[in-house]
């Protein structure tokens, strides 16, 4: 259980760090590559999780260049480890963080950035003091969707996680396991806890969001 939330938290934080620059780039670039990058980012939305899981398994495994690189040069294994799950979840939940933030940025009037430029502000100053504070609901949406999506992830985790207790056995896998073993009671315990916790988190977030919107 703890593992599930640890995975979701780490994934969300990493995606926040990666997602904001990526969303900023996509929102404002006029490059011809934009549709290509947007497609790549959106792929996890439509791709069956097992497909992604399979390719990640191939990429991560020690037989392949990337997997070997990680093991030999960076010192950690990607298959059947928590780190591998994190990487898989980051890839898989990418659009859930990037798209809301990108949409939020694109909905801001262009004159805000221009006004800040006229006042001599640099791009980072504009991003952190003008843009991000004005898309708080989008940031919140991104965080919540990413977190919830990672908690619910099953297909990818199954492929590259391996169901190792304490390491890669997240709640969604555990539930599946218990059902397979006909331990419906245990399965129900896990499922119920998961349901209640995610429900409470989402509820809290929507309440906070609403009071923020009222203020603005």
């Amino acid at each position: 259980m703890l593992l599930t939330f640890k995975l979701a938290l780490v994934t969300t934080l990493i995606l926040l760090l990666i997602g904001i620059p990526l969303a900023y780039y996509l929102a404002y670039t006029r490059s011809k590559l934009k549709p290509v990058i947007e497609t790549i980012v959106s792929m996890p939305l439509v791709l069956p999780p097992t497909v992604l899981g399979f390719y990640l398994l191939m990429a991560f495994s020690g037989e392949n260049a990337f997997g070997r690189f990680c093991e030999e040069v960076l010192g950690f294994r990607l298959v059947f480890t928590f780190e591998g799950l994190v990487l898989g979840s980051v890839i898989f939940s990418l659009p859930f963080m990037v798209q809301p933030i990108q949409a939020g940025l694109q909905s801001l009037p262009g004159s805000l950035i221009e006004a800040a430029q006229m006042l001599g502000k640099t791009k980072p100053q504009i991003l952190f003091r003008v843009l991000l504070p004005n898309i708080k609901p989008s940031l919140l949406t991104g965080i919540v969707l990413t977190f919830a999506h990672t908690v619910g992830e099953f297909g990818v985790v199954l492929m590259i996680g391996g169901n190792i207790p304490g390491e890669t056995r997240v709640a969604s896998i555990a539930i599946y396991d218990e059902v397979e073993a006909l331990n419906y009671a245990t399965a129900n315990d896990y499922a119920l806890v998961l349901f209640l916790v995610t429900f409470s988190i989402l509820l809290l977030v929507y309440i906070v969001n609403r009071s923020f919107l009222k203020r603005v």
Partner: protein
């Protein structure tokens, strides 16, 4: 449509760019501000080259030190009035100028309000104040008063005039309102079809005939009523609705929605003072 403009401003002038919508007025401001790059051209300010397409010089807007007031004011929604002004300060700069400006444009009472809690006229004042925090030498205004009602416009026109004097600004104002230009500007540049067609004082541009000739109004016909041998036209002129009498020949070809010009001798009109 190609925009091709050659223009020079003198320090301390209050100049207006005048013309119809879409003719390129805002683009001229944006090019000067560095928000828009012309295909070809040259901008020099106080001996310094800001833009030169031949030499590849393009000073970014952040470094041009211009005050710019946008048509939608562009106030930062997440900051209060005071914070919006403080944001304009450079690192380490004293906050005195913020206090001074807030008093000058009478914003002190609104200091802690967010832009969403302000009226149009209040927002406009914040936008102008914010543009002046860095004490720019050049102030660009993009139709700043177009969204306001008549009384507020007059009041703010006076404020702009005072600020222009007080801060020894060189101001460039985009406007389509002749009376506003008359009130504020010493020089008007008229743009048509992407080119400068006239450059002179407001009198030279707007007063075409000798004093005492005629009033000319453009209006739209709302209603045509017949009354014996004559017709009564109900016309919308500016913000007013008037009734004028028209002869059969004058009425010819007119229908509801027609645009007409009403010309009246202005030699002996009634002049009434409005108490302020």
């Amino acid at each position: 449509m190609q925009l091709s403009v050659e223009l020079s401003l003198n320090r301390g002038e209050f100049v207006s760019i005048f013309g119809e919508s879409g003719v390129g007025k805002t683009t001229i401001l944006r090019v000067l501000a560095g928000l828009c790059e012309p295909d070809e051209g040259y901008i020099e300010v106080d001996g310094k080259t800001w833009f030169d397409s031949k030499k590849g010089v393009n000073l970014p807007p952040q470094k041009r030190g211009i005050g710019f007031v946008f048509q939608d004011y562009a106030l930062f929604p997440n900051m209060t009035v005071e914070e919006n002004l403080r944001f304009a300060l450079k690192k380490g700069e004293s906050e005195e100028v913020v206090d001074e400006l807030m008093d000058l444009v009478e914003l002190r009472a609104l200091a802690k309000r967010l832009p969403s809690e302000l009226s149009g006229g209040q927002r406009q004042r914040v936008a102008v104040a914010r543009a002046l925090v860095q004490r720019p030498s050049l102030l660009l205004l993009d139709e700043p008063l177009s969204a306001l009602d008549h009384t507020m416009r007059s009041k703010l026109q006076e404020e702009l005039s005072k600020l222009h004097e007080r801060f020894s600004l060189t101001t460039l104002l985009v406007s389509h309102d002749p009376s506003e230009i008359f009130r504020l500007c010493s020089r008007v540049v008229r743009i048509e079809q992407g080119r400068v067609v006239k450059d002179g004082t407001p009198s030279e541009l707007f007063i075409k005939e000798r004093i005492g000739s005629s009033f000319k109004f453009v209006g739209e016909v709302l209603e045509i009523d017949r009354c014996d041998m004559l017709y009564t036209l109900t016309v919308a002129v500016g913000g007013q609705i008037v009734k004028v009498v028209a002869s059969k020949s004058e009425r010819e070809g007119l229908r509801v929605g027609s645009r007409i010009q009403i010309v009246s001798k202005s030699f002996n009109p009634m002049i009434l003072k409005i108490d302020s």
